[in-house]
Every structure is written in C-alpha cells, then in structure tokens.
Amino acid sequence: MLHLAKVAFLSKYKCSCPVRFCNIFWSLSLSFLEYIVAFNGYFTAKARSDFISSALRDVDAVNWRIVRRDNPASDYPSDFEVVEIRQDARSSLLTLQDHPYIKRVTPQRMVLRSLKLTDSGTDGASPCNDTRWVQKWQSWQSSRPLRRTSLSLGSGFWHATGRHSSRRLLRAIPRHVAQILQADVLWQMGHTGSGVKVAVFDTGLSEKHPHFKNVKERTNWTNEKTLDDGLGHGTFVAGVIASMRECQGFAPDSELHIFRVFTNNQVSYTSWFLDAFNYAILKKIDVLNLSIGGPDFMDHPFVDKVWELTANKVIMVSAIGNDGPLYGTLNNPADQMDVIGVGGIDFEDNIARFSSRGMTTWVRSHAGCQASTCLSMASESLSMLVFCLSSTVLNRELVNPASMKQALIASARRLPGVNMFEQGHGKLDLLRAYQILNSYKPQASLSPSYIDLTECPYMWPYCSQPIYYGGMPTIVNVTILNGMGVTGRIVDKPIWQPYLPQNGDYVDVAVSYSPVLWPWAGYLAVSISVAKKAASWEGVAQGHVMVTVASPAENDVSNSGEMTSTVKLPVKVKIVPTPPRSKRILWDQYHNLRYPPGYFPRDNLRMKNDPLDWNGDHIHTNFRDMYQHLRSMGYFVEVLGAPITCFDASQYGTLLMVDSEEEYFPEEITKLRRDIDNGLSLIIFSDWYNTSVMRKVKFYDENTRQWWMPDTGGANVPALNDLISVWGMAFSDGLYEGDFTMADHDMYYASGCSIARFPEDGIVIAQTLKDQGTRHLLFNLMMIIIISVGNHLYRYSKVLEAHLGDPKPRPLPACPHLSWAKPQPLNETAPRSVHMRPLPFSTTALSVETNLNWDALSLNISLLVLKSFCCLIFLWYSKPWYTIIQKFGLSKI
C-alpha cells in the first residue's frame, strides 16, 4: 500500500468532544489479469475489437475477453482497450504487441483512495466551540492525476482540461469555529436555525453518519444508483451545516435536504443540476449551498436556472472558486448578482491566495490551508450562518435573497489595504448582520455604495489614474439590490446632481441601467467624463447620482400601488489637464476574445493544466504589472472597447494590441493605415498560431460532451497579418521559446511566433530561440482523429458573419454614443466623509474602461520585461520605415 497523503484534524485546544482524524490512503496495485492495450490512434469500439481479435486469433477465445467500460466516453472513439487475459498471458501479449495498430500493452493498475475518520477519544472539558481544526496536507508527489477516467489515461493534459472546463467540486475540511464567527452568541439567544430548509448540493451523505438526525431527505440526481456519499465531501459539508451543537456545527436545528449531484468520481452535468434545482423549488428550500464553481458563465440554461431559483426566494450561497490570485476570476454562479459568493481569508485578514478575486463576502478560513480545500468550507459556513440568520428574523416575510445579501454586505467590515475587486464587501460580521436584518425595512441599496475614484487602494484601478478631458469615459458598474420585491424598476431616470461648491459641474455623467430589476437586482453603469471647460483644470470634483426604485407592493393590504426607495450614489473624481499626445496610450480591448464562449488556448503553451484562456487579457487583470509600470513612467493608459474606427488617433501616441484573437473590419484596417501615416505608433504583441498545434490541443470536454478545438492560436495571426501586410510585414506560423537577455534584462520568451517578413529598411533586433513547434508535436498528448468541431470563430466573433463558409465581415457597428445626463446642480457640499457605510458591493463583472497612453522609444525594453511571453513586438514611431523593431525567433530576415 502506498501511503501518499494524510489529512489530520488536530485539536489545538482541549475539548470535550471527540477528536477525529481523517486519513487519506492511496493504494496502487496491479490487476494481474487485465492489460491496457493502447492503439496508435482513436478507433471505434468495433474497430478496436477487430484489431484485438485478429491479433489474438491463435489464442483460445475462452482465455481472453475485452473488459466492458460503460461511461459517457463509450460513445466516442478511444485509443485504448482493457483486455482480460487468463492464460498464457505472456505469449498473448507478444502477439498483441506485434499488431501494426497497437502501440503498447501494459498491465492495468488500480488506484484506490480511501478516506477514514477515526475517533481518538475525548480529553479535557472546555467547550467545543474552542476547537480549532488544523489541517495538514502532504502534497501528492505523483504527476498522475488523481481521478482516472478511461480517456485520461497517461495524459495529465487531458485530465486537467476536463477539470477546468467543467464545474468542479472543491474538497472540504472543516476548520472554522462557530465562535470565531460569533454564532455561539446567536445560539445563546436560542436561534439554532429551526424550521429553515437547507439544501446541500454535493456528493450526498453517508447513511450511517451519527450527526444527521436533521436530515429530512436524500435524493440522487446522478447516474449512479446510490444515495451514499462515497467521497466524503458532501458528508463534511452537511456536517458543518448541521452537526450537533456540542461540536462545531452552526445551525443544528435546521432541516437538511441532501442532493447528490456529484458522482463518486466528482462528475456532474448541467442537466442533473437543472432537474435537482427544479426539485429544490418545489420543496420550497430556503437556503441552498453549492460548493462548486466553473468558469462557464455563458452556460445559459444554468445561469437562467439560478435566476429562477432566486426569483422563487431561494437564497443561494456559492463558493467563488480557487482560481486566484488573478483578477476577475470569479466562478459562476458566485459571480451572479443574485447569489451570495464566498471567498476565504485567514486569521490575519489576508485573502487566501487561492481565492478568486471578485466582489463577495469573505469568511474566515484558517491560514495555511491549501487551494482547493478551503473554499467550499467557507461557503458551507456562510450557508449555515445564512439560515441561522433566517431563523432569527421575526418577520420571515422580509427575508429574501436581496435583503439577506444587503444585510451581510452592510454589516461586513472592510479589509484594510485591499481593493474592492479583491475583497468584495469585506469580512463577515454575523452579529451586525443579525441586528440589521431584525430592523430591516424593505429598500433598495447600491453596491458599491459610492464611487470615489481618488480612494486608493480600495478603488483600484480607478484610483490609479486621474481623469481628464477627451479621455475614454470611466465606467463603473454598480449593482442595485432591491429588497422590496423580486421585480422592480427605476422610476423616471437616474439624476446627476453635481455639487457646485465642489466643482461638480466639471464632470459629465451618463447612466445606463437595467430596464427591469429582476430577480432582486439590476445594474447601473455610470460613465464619468470631464467637461470641456475643465480641459486644463486640476482638482477634485464631487456630486451624486440619485436613483428611485419602485416595486409592486405585494404585502400591503391597503394599497395595491408601489413601494419606492430612493438611493444616492456619491461620486468623487480627480481631474487633471489633458496630457500631451505622446503620453497617451490606448489599449485595444475590442479585439480580445476569451473562453467562454469560444475555446481560445492559453498564450503560454506550457501551462497545460489550464489550457483555456478564460480570463482573457486585460490591462487591469493579467497585464496589471505592465499597467503599473507604464503609469509609474508617467504614461496614461486608456482602454478602447470599440472598433478602431471609434477613436481620434490625433489624441494618442500609441495603440497597443496584445494577443488579439478577433478579426478586423475592412474599415478598421483602412483607418489604422491612415492613422499610422498621420503619426500614430503601433505596438503589437503577437502570439503563436500554428494549425497543427491547434489540432493537438483539442480536447474532449466532459461537461458539454463535445470536442473543443481552438478557434485561434494564442493570437489570430492571420488576421494580424492582414492588418500589417500594407507595410510589408508578416508573422510566421512558427512556435518558439527560450531565454534571452536584452539590455541587461533577463527575459523568458514562453510561446510565440517569429517575424516572417519585414521591410528592408526597418530595424530588426533578433534572437535565436528554441523551436517549440516540432517539440510540441512530440508531446504525448492525444493522437487525434478529427471527428468534430471545426473553427467556430464566426460564432463568437463580433466581426465575422455568423455562418459557415468563407468568412465575411458584418457591417461595422456604430461607435458607442453616451447621452450625458442633464445635470441638476445642487448648491451644497458633500458630507465630509464620502466613505459612508461600506454598503453593498456585489459580484458585478469588472468592467473598467479608463483613460490612459506613451512614448514608444523609452518604453521598449521595460515593456519586454513586463510581458515576456509575447511573440514579438514591433513599434513604429511617426513613420513606419524608421522604426524600432524588435524581433525574436528568427536570426535573419
């Protein structure tokens, strides 16, 4: 038996409840009769059977058989078969190995993971609320993936793609204590969650677990015919929620409904969730805990279903995922406005490194725990707190997904030194939430509750660059939470009221908003710009946006009219004179695409465990370092969210295009040529684009049950070549990597192409690098028979027509036009502290479009250091032919 990992819960304090240890054992054994026959390619079951039969035609038929594998992959061609050989195994193996289509034959191995809870008796007498759970993981040394699906054999790449493209279960180990979250105080008041129906969506619950006297029912939604939890995840989750009071559970009297939606192999499908959610609605569940997350926010059936649940007053609590520490990496469904998302912080209030960044409520988790273990824990703790809270409220009618979220947000304490996209609403404060909920009057609230573009670091990235006349408008996405009813509307229009004594009239504001607030929430997109009269003014300006929300008054007997609630959104900005053209850089965001919806592979091919580029590229997320560097050098960086035809090139020094996946409108190409002639500089970070590699990185997605093939390479090089061909330049379809040094900077070039063509009189700085293309083909990925999807770029593109065949561009869309709100000036001053109650901050998507720009010459070196995995950079300066051009991957032109 191989003992690969051990998890132990250790009681740090003396405690009267039993201390329990959880051990994970791994055992690896050879299955003597079974052999894996690997083929040279992917074949149907019949073809595989024929090959084996012909190879074994001299062996007695009773001595061997093909082992049936019944799984969702059986419908698809496979590159291996499991064969049981009873006698004469050795000679049979030799004949098998001689077959031309058989690559190799290896013994079948069986890996067993067992999770064992052991009691180690009791000692001491202090109350159990003091129990702290410490968890120790020894990392598993093997590179082989833990879960084995038939098709994942021998391919870590494969396994990883399945995991990342589908929703996944986050392993949970209890480590929180009711006391830290002050739940014990609520217990002393007699609130133990009685009468609240809680649904746990997980791997089920083991039947004989002693704690689960509260379990009302267990249902199975998977294709495994069992209700039992073979994995242990669901049992832990349920335990945290409702185990006995003497130990560490939080809502001991709640009524538990256990939904088994994950198999023991941690497999799940959207369709199982849809059916299970319908049942939860029928059963009038109050709080639903979901410790899963996946990147697919474009999964409409799932997203719609979550809305439907909340609209039926189910309060949904969801983990936000383990994809931190990148920005904008919230997982669905925790990113939905109507869902309460939970992340993890440690006892020092640092956000756990593994936690996705986004706007949420953070629950304490223990320092030192590992990614993928902590998160779902946090969500269970919050679920349980949420029903605990629900049961304490005297007027149950007032508890709904919006009011619960409002109470949690309004009571949360802000973490110091962390920006709002990372910390969300801050740290949970249960007692304050309880007080707020018990004196709650139905109302609307905003999240964030104010916009202070000068406040750092909380309002990063907004606070990192002042605004100026002529810049791209700064857009702040605000969530409106409406506790008055499942539907609501904004009365008339939001009003912009500048404070005259505080130069509010130097600011122009435009507001767009949801036509209907449903379910329980909507958005308010506030675009902020500088008025022309402040073009050379410097200072701080303030005002507020006022919104009135109305909902049908359902509970009001006397009046069948509407309830209304008016909220103000204070706005504070720093204005500077418009910077000179040479200091302004425009980042092209419009031509970046990402997964979902299409499959765009990672820019760095070495990152095989997460091949989908689902974080996209953005100057404020994965290019944050570059942004900060440019800012520190005095450049202003703006983001272009519209076609190239939509900006005035005479205002900008440089256009920056990084890893663009999108195609270009013919009008854009023409306009860019004219802009360059008129003195605009252009910097392109291209990436790789190699069709044979693209075919190699194709994979079968277990969640959508279809093949995914990249829609472009790391960048859309053919489209870029169309764009730059007029200057006699082209990128190649090569693929290179390696280290190099430039001006004393050591740099790593991760995956990228080379320059194929360049004008004779241009300057090329070249470096010879390793040819990754040929090596990549040698990777033992999957040998692929092309059986399915083709290039679907047209499906996701804003530029191409949505049909097959020759790609044709759509008509060029109109440039965005903002209609500025007519100001209603107030002759008053803002309250001294704009920093009001840290009210609702919800999980709206990070949508930042600020004004920003630079001077090509001084930049080139540092830029390289900042972003080393680009394919190549070339910039030209005023006139294309006298340019600095840098190139790697080709030693000569």
Binding site: D75, W221, L274, D275, I281, T691, T704, I786, G790
Partner: protein
C-alpha cells in the same frame, strides 16, 4: 520565411476543411446527443413494469371554483399565473395571491406563444395553458410514462398546479451539449416531447 500569401492560402484550406468536417460531424454528434438524452434523462420508461407512483389530484368539473387564497408562479419578471389558470401582470395581483380577474391584463388558460408540440416561449403562458382542464389526459399520459430520471420531481408533485409549475420549467430535457438550449425560443414545455432540437 513564410509569406503572407501562403499563410492566407493555408487559412483558406483550413476553413474549407473545417467546413466539411463541421457538416459530417453535426450529424454524428446529433445522434450521439439524442442517444445521450434518451439514455440518461430517460424520457420514457424502458421497463414497462416500472411506473412512478404519482399522486396528482386533478380537480374535476368547472374551473369557476371560488377560493380565498391563491398560490401563484412567484418568479415572473412581469407576468404571474395563479392556480386558477389566470395570467396577469404583477400590478394586477391581489393581496390574496390571485390575479384580479377584472383587470384588463388578466385572462384564463392562455396558450399564447405555445407551439403545437406543447412548448412555449413564456413560462407563465405555459403554466396557464397546462392548467386547461383538457390537458389532463396528456399530463396523465406523461406521468404514466415519465421515467426514472424525473421520478424524484414528479412523485413529489401533489396537484395539477404544482405539476404544471414543475413540468413547464426547463430541465435536463431542455438542453443539448449540456450548456445550450435545444430551442432557446420555445423552451418551456407542458407537453410530452422535449423542445425541438435546433442546430447551434
């Protein structure tokens, strides 16, 4: 050095290749998909002995019964359907949960937006249409043949209204490839068949 021309040509070839692959693969994947739906969500019982024990109480007789409190469909953005089959706008909902039958927006047993296969674009109309007394045989037929995958849900349903609320919701039968609706326009079905499968 590869010229742009060659790249362009390669790209054109690739797109042609994809095109032809797409056409062959669509057919294959559709059949595989259909099979998956039948196998896994088990629209119909395979085993004729295995009927689910449904307990739905249909109310016989006329629909003009008087009740003092109504359950309704709760979730609607604009519309609601009450248990008597009236659809109305939220503003015309009475305090007792029933639609105000005198309001101009209210009407009973509305099948607006519903197709011949029993699938509708609007959830509230689906529920209202499903509540029509003449839909009862269809629903009974469905319940008798409803398969294991849907058993949890339909054995827990207690009356005609709950059945219609549950039946009209999108479910495992509404999707293809797990992340796309079979028919995004008409996805709420009171009828027996799943929504018509539209190509993506």
């Amino acid at each position: 050095t590869v010229s742009t021309k060659i790249l362009r040509k390669k790209r054109a070839e690739l797109s042609y290749l994809h095109h032809s692959l797409q056409q062959t693969s669509t057919n294959e994947s559709l059949t595989a998909e259909e099979r998956t739906i039948h196998d896994r969500t088990l629209l119909e019982v395979r085993d004729s002995d295995h009927h689910i024990q449904w307990k739905v109480q249909f109310i016989l007789g006329n629909s003009s019964r008087q009740i003092s409190q109504c359950r309704n469909s709760i979730q609607g953005k604009i519309l609601l359907t009450d248990e008597l089959g009236y659809v109305c706008e939220r503003k015309d909902l009475l305090v007792n949960g029933c639609c105000n039958v005198n309001a101009p927006s209210s009407s009973q047993y509305v099948c607006k937006s519903c197709l011949a296969n029993g699938c509708c674009s609007v959830y509230e109309y689906c529920v209202s249409c499903c509540l029509q007394p003449d839909k009862q045989p269809l629903l009974e037929h469905f319940l008798n043949r409803a398969a294991e995958g849907l058993q949890n849900l339909f054995t827990a349903v207690e009356d005609h209204f709950e059945l219609c609320l549950a039946k009209c919701r999108t479910s495992s039968q509404s999707v293809q490839h797990e992340n796309t609706y079979r028919n995004p326009q008409a996805k709420y079905c009171y009828g027996e068949s799943p929504p018509e499968l539209l190509p993506i």
